[in-house]
């Protein structure tokens, strides 16, 4: 397969970047998108050019490191996959592929296609936990039965990989899906109840401080989420937040 790549190049956070065009040949359908970039980088290195920097690690769709806005969509055209699981068979010979970093004020570019998603960490630090110390004598795990339906919903929310596709897809660069997934995980479990009021307020406050946009319910986040995190979580967070606020 022969392709034309248009890739955002930016030396570091302090300089301006630009799109650069690279032709590439010999791409096979069985390659993953990142392996295609590996091929490009090998070529660039052999020519003495700077390889394209991009975040990636597990390459099996779970660590959430890989990002990339591909042809205007986070993680590319396929649904329910991360960029590392996107395979080149989703493209045709002769295609032009535009590759950009995830864009948001709260995700500043580090280099080329790498962005800083520390804002997500800070949202979690604001309250995404249950305050329980490690002691070895917490109560037996089976002494808190949890309704299977709630446990499954909680798990579904907890499968968020923190990649930032929701922010990247949202026209407002809103982080509501990410934040609400964590809020929901705990809101659905008995363990999360004690701190529920403070948790949702603190996490939303931090989300706002980071400079993410507001949710306008376009639903783009849910569709682009590689883990299919549901919009129901956002509704749940709205509910939790308003009830927490009314409690003061």
């Amino acid at each position: 397969m022969k392709l034309t790549l248009k890739i955002w190049r930016q030396e570091n956070a302090n300089v301006k970047g630009k799109m650069v065009t690279y032709p590439i040949d010999g791409i096979e359908g069985d390659m993953s998108f990142l392996e295609m970039l590996d091929v490009l980088n090998e070529e660039l290195i052999n020519k003495g050019d700077q390889p394209v920097e991009f975040d990636h690690d597990c390459r099996e769709g779970i660590c959430g490191a890989c990002s990339l806005q591909i042809n205007g969509e986070p993680h590319g055209p396929d649904k329910l996959v991360t960029t590392c699981q996107l395979h080149m068979r989703s493209f045709k010979d002769g295609d032009t592929i535009v590759i950009e970093p995830f864009r948001a004020k709260a995700f500043p570019v580090v280099k080329d296609l790498i962005v800083d998603r520390g804002s997500f960490d800070r949202i979690q630090q604001a309250g995404g936990y249950v305050s329980v110390n490690t002691s070895g004598n917490t109560i037996d795990a089976n002494s808190i039965p949890v309704n299977k339906h709630d446990a499954d919903d909680s798990f579904a929310a907890a499968t968020c990989i923190g990649c930032g596709a929701c922010v990247a897809a949202c026209k407002n660069a809103s982080a509501m899906l990410f934040t609400s997934a964590k809020v929901s995980q705990y809101a659905l479990l008995p363990q999360g109840q004690v701190e529920a009021t403070e948790r949702v307020q603190n996490m939303v406050r931090q989300m706002d401080i980071e400079g993410f946009g507001n949710c306008s319910n376009t639903g783009a986040c849910e569709i682009e989420c590689p883990k299919g995190i549901s919009l129901e979580n956002i509704a749940r967070m709205n509910r939790e937040y308003m009830s927490a606020t009314s409690k003061g």
Binding site: N214, S216, L231, I234
Partner: protein, 220 residues
């Protein structure tokens, strides 16, 4: 409320509530307008009631105006904030792959509706105020129907009216359903609600358009 409205979630909540209120108002307005087609006498009666009842004039009308102003100002505030949340724009942004045109362009459909409201106020509300308070005409419970119908003589005005309601339809198609999500209402009944809001968003503006065209054609 002041402290509350600082957070993004509370802003959306308020936006949804004001929107839902305006949707209700729309239904009421539509019902009255529809009588102008079916029964001009009833139309006159209702219009007179609305225009002269103390409760409506002193309480509901200010609340409505507040609702409208709040919804618009908050809409613009949120839009400005949202634009700032993405400092550098994408070269290639394929929004249609994951969201509807309506949901991404609420600010534009909203702006058209705002412009229409200006026209509407100029057409009906301002003359009404002048009629009632500046010129201090005595009450005439029978004048509303003819005055209203007369407005639809102009094809330009009727055309603008139709276009505006198409935008209102687009605005409602996303906004009405969306407001339930914003107030935290997303559960097994949501599919039904979605259907209702979609039907409402299409039928009510079409109804307004029908009324306008009806009077325009009658005027020919």
């Amino acid at each position: 409320m002041g402290g509350l409205i600082k957070s993004s979630v509370a802003k959306k909540f308020a936006m949804a509530l004001s929107g839902l209120f305006l949707v209700l108002f729309l239904a009421q307005h539509f019902t009255i307008n529809l009588t102008s087609v079916i029964a001009p006498d009833v139309f006159n009666e209702l219009s007179h009631f609305m225009g002269t009842n103390f409760l409506v004039q002193a309480i509901l009308q200010p609340v409505l105006i507040f609702g409208v102003v709040f919804h618009f100002i908050m809409g613009f505030v949120l839009e400005i904030h949202n634009r700032k949340a993405r400092a550098v724009n994408y070269v290639n942004y394929n929004g249609s792959a994951n969201s509807s045109w309506m949901s991404r362009n609420m600010i534009y459909s909203g702006a058209v509706i705002l412009a229409f409201l200006a026209l509407h106020f100029y057409d009906f509300w301002v003359p009404e105020l002048i009629h009632k308070y500046v010129q201090s005409h005595p009450e005439d419970p029978a004048r509303y129907y003819t005055e209203t119908v007369a407005k639809f003589e102009s094809p330009v005005r009727t055309g603008l009216y139709v276009i505006s309601f198409i935008f209102l339809m687009l605005h409602l198609l996303h906004g009405f359903a969306s407001s339930f999500q914003s107030v935290g209402w997303n559960n097994k009944y949501s599919k039904g609600i979605q259907g209702f809001t979609k039907a409402y968003a299409i039928i009510i503006p079409l109804g307004f358009i029908f009324i306008a065209l009806y009077h325009y054609i009658n005027n020919l």
